[in-house]
């Protein structure tokens, strides 16, 4: 399908707020935290707040986030990256109980990309709050928890627990993991299921809710609209594309899980097309993900309508990829004398 109109929407803070007015009480913990995220001057960069973006009620100092599963729990990259400079850190997908993940080998490089089948190995939501979150609280950066469940009940329980924890600023709901047998993409390929997960998670949390969509569907717009109609504050896309790779000598798959999720530059054109389609058809912010390695890649996503972006595989290639991208975006904005990111988002001329 092709979007029928030029990308013209701009979500103003007022509009974004209107999305879920009943759920946001003035003076709640959430509001305090959101205001705390705009202390741009403290670190000396982004002094004019040029790169500031709003994802629904969530205000970020810049539009660059780390994609779930590619940045651990933040601490792993702290020797290389000043975490205060990031727009947001999205942590590894969290389930109710710890998960062991899939057997090795779990990864394989493919042309301009990589396959992974980690299988959502994670410490579990309770251990995350006890052992990982205290470390993350010290940073002036939004912390977004990625939520995974095998059942709707698990999504709800994990969301509730994270909402009660101090220091989580938004939830990203993973309805798109291709590497687990139950849950994940089973929810993300059915618009009714997406709508149900979204609506019920919104009922149990006052945090902004981002629905992370799978590209392994016939029509991404149907999925984005289902999330929007059910009250999602934003959608993020794309998760990885299911793929495989074979060892011809041994005639076995390179991954023990047989199939895995493809990421990296190989998927960028597909991701860009899907973000363009989704951004053209929904009014909530769209967060672009897929093969972003450089500031130029990120700018393509903004121009087709992404309000923010996530950097994934690039972190593995260059630990400082996020910082290079932020600095590149800032240089572009200055070079083009843009007042803010709004001038860029959805500015595609066709």
């Amino acid at each position: 399908m092709t979007p029928s109109r030029k990308v013209t929407f701009t979500v103003t803070p007022a509009e974004a707020g209107v999305q879920t007015p009943s759920r946001r009480k003035p003076g709640t913990k959430n509001n305090k935290l959101v205001s705390g995220l705009l202390r741009n001057d403290k670190n000396g960069y982004d002094k004019q707040g040029m790169l500031t973006v709003e994802i629904g009620p969530l205000k970020l100092k810049n539009p660059v986030m780390t994609a779930s599963g590619t940045f651990g729990y933040g601490e792993e990259y702290a020797p290389y990256v000043d975490l205060n400079r990031l727009g947001a850190i999205i942590v590894k997908g969290l389930s109710l109980k710890p998960r062991q993940g899939n057997p090795s080998p779990r990864i394989m490089e493919t042309p301009s990309g990589m396959l992974n089948a980690i299988g959502l190995q994670n410490v579990g939501v309770k251990s995350f709050i006890r052992d990982k979150l205290p470390y993350l609280r010290q940073f002036d950066t939004a912390i977004i928890a990625n939520v995974y469940g095998e059942t709707i009940e698990e999504y709800l329980r994990v969301s509730e627990i994270l909402t009660a924890a101090d220091g989580v600023h938004a939830l990203e709901i993973n309805v798109s993991c291709p590497n687990v047998k139950k849950g994940g993409v089973a929810f993300g390929t059915d618009p009714d299921m997406i709508a149900e997960v979204t609506a019920r998670v919104k009922d149990v949390t006052n945090l902004p809710v981002i629905i992370k969509l799978s590209p392994n569907v016939t029509d991404i717009v149907v999925m984005a609209k289902a999330a929007e109609a059910a009250g999602a504050d934003a959608v993020s896309l794309i998760n990885t594309i299911t793929g495989m790779s074979v060892d011809i000598e041994k005639r076995i798959p390179h991954l023990k899980n047989v199939t895995g999720g493809l990421s990296g530059p190989a998927i960028k054109p597909i991701a860009l097309r899907m973000v363009w389609q989704a951004a053209s058809q929904v009014h909530i912010p769209v967060i672009g993900i897929g093969g972003i390695m450089t500031a130029a890649d990120a700018l393509e996503f903004f121009i087709v309508g992404a309000r923010a972006i996530q950097v994934g595989t690039a972190n593995f290639v260059e630990p400082r990829a996020t910082i290079n991208i932020i600095e590149g975006i800032e240089a572009f904005v200055k070079r083009h004398h843009l007042v803010d990111m709004d001038e860029l988002v959805g500015s595609l001329k066709i």
């Binding site: 590619t70 290389y80 080998p105 779990r106 990309g113 290639v317």
Partner: protein, 269 residues
């Protein structure tokens, strides 16, 4: 990530490369068993860096040199092998935990299969420099055939008993490197002995079985495909038993690559 300049990238074996890289003085001193993530600069091919264990390290006044001994096993190492002197590489490291050196041990046995010779040589040299007093050092090298035994000259220069085995008997004794072990460990005191091993998974798995009844402690450096090298991607998981006997997933890059042999769940590999 550091940018390194290649000093040489020689071919001492059929598919074996010996690379030396000049790096800035800020590069930290590695300990034996640690590794680096490396890839050719620019081009974007390969996308991911490759993990290679450190073969040697020398600190000079204004720079350091890092040596790597590796084998061409796929596209990534093939591209590295083609780099000429003065070519540039991106390097992240030193990474991982490395071998633990307990000074109280009086007998050390170093076991290298195939490319395991790289970290084992670095360890042997480190022991020679760092551990003083009366210590017994045994080094065992094994490979498929004599052509695949690389780096012997350097190991020979280290004081210690050197034993070599090849699968086809073309150099040293005929058999597996683990076959050399019983002759060395008989009548040794497990409390005063430490075995350090690095090699293919099959060798380490056989070693685990062989050592189980002896009670001799052993540290193994294991290999796995990696994407990030810093414990973020969880691509290099290995099942390990903790002190309470509960299995948990560890990252080879961050929690390892060196583990106690009895902690690794070999049935999962």
């Amino acid at each position: 990530m550091w940018t390194g300049s290649i000093i040489f990238n020689n071919q001492p074996g059929p598919q074996h490369l010996h690379m030396a890289v000049r790096l800035p003085a800020e590069f930290q001193d590695p300990i034996p068993g640690q590794f680096v993530m490396i890839r050719p600069i620019g081009a974007g091919v390969p996308l991911l860096s490759r993990p290679l264990s450190i073969y040697n390290f020398v600190r000079y006044q204004n720079h350091v040199t890092l040596e790597l001994l590796y084998r061409v096993v796929g596209r990534g190492t093939e591209l590295l092998s083609q780099l000429p002197p003065a070519g540039e590489v991106k390097i992240l490291g030193p990474l991982g935990s490395g071998f633990r050196i307990e000074k109280a041990k009086s007998k050390r046995i170093l076991l290298a299969g195939g490319m395991g010779v790289a970290p084992i040589t670095f360890l042997a040299q480190y022991l020679e420099r760092q551990v003083t007093g009366k210590n017994e050092l045994n080094i065992c090298l094994g490979a498929k055939n004599c052509a695949e035994i690389v780096g012997v000259e350097r190991i020979k220069s280290i004081p210690g008993l050197l034993n070599i085995s090849t699968d086809d008997g073309s150099l040293g004794s005929c058999g597996l490197v683990t076959d050399l072990l019983p002759g060395i460990t008989q009548e040794c005191d497990p409390g005063k002995t430490m075995i350090y091993a690095c090699g293919p998974m099959a060798m380490l798995k056989a070693l685990a079985k062989q050592l189980a009844p002896t009670g001799i402690p052993c540290q193994v450096s294991i290999e796995e495909r990696m994407a990030c090298g810093v414990g973020a991607c969880l691509g290099c998981a290995v099942a390990v038993q903790n002190r309470r006997g509960i299995r948990e997933q560890k990252s080879v890059c961050k929690d390892g690559p060196v583990f106690n042999i009895q902690d690794v769940c070999w049935d999962q590999l």
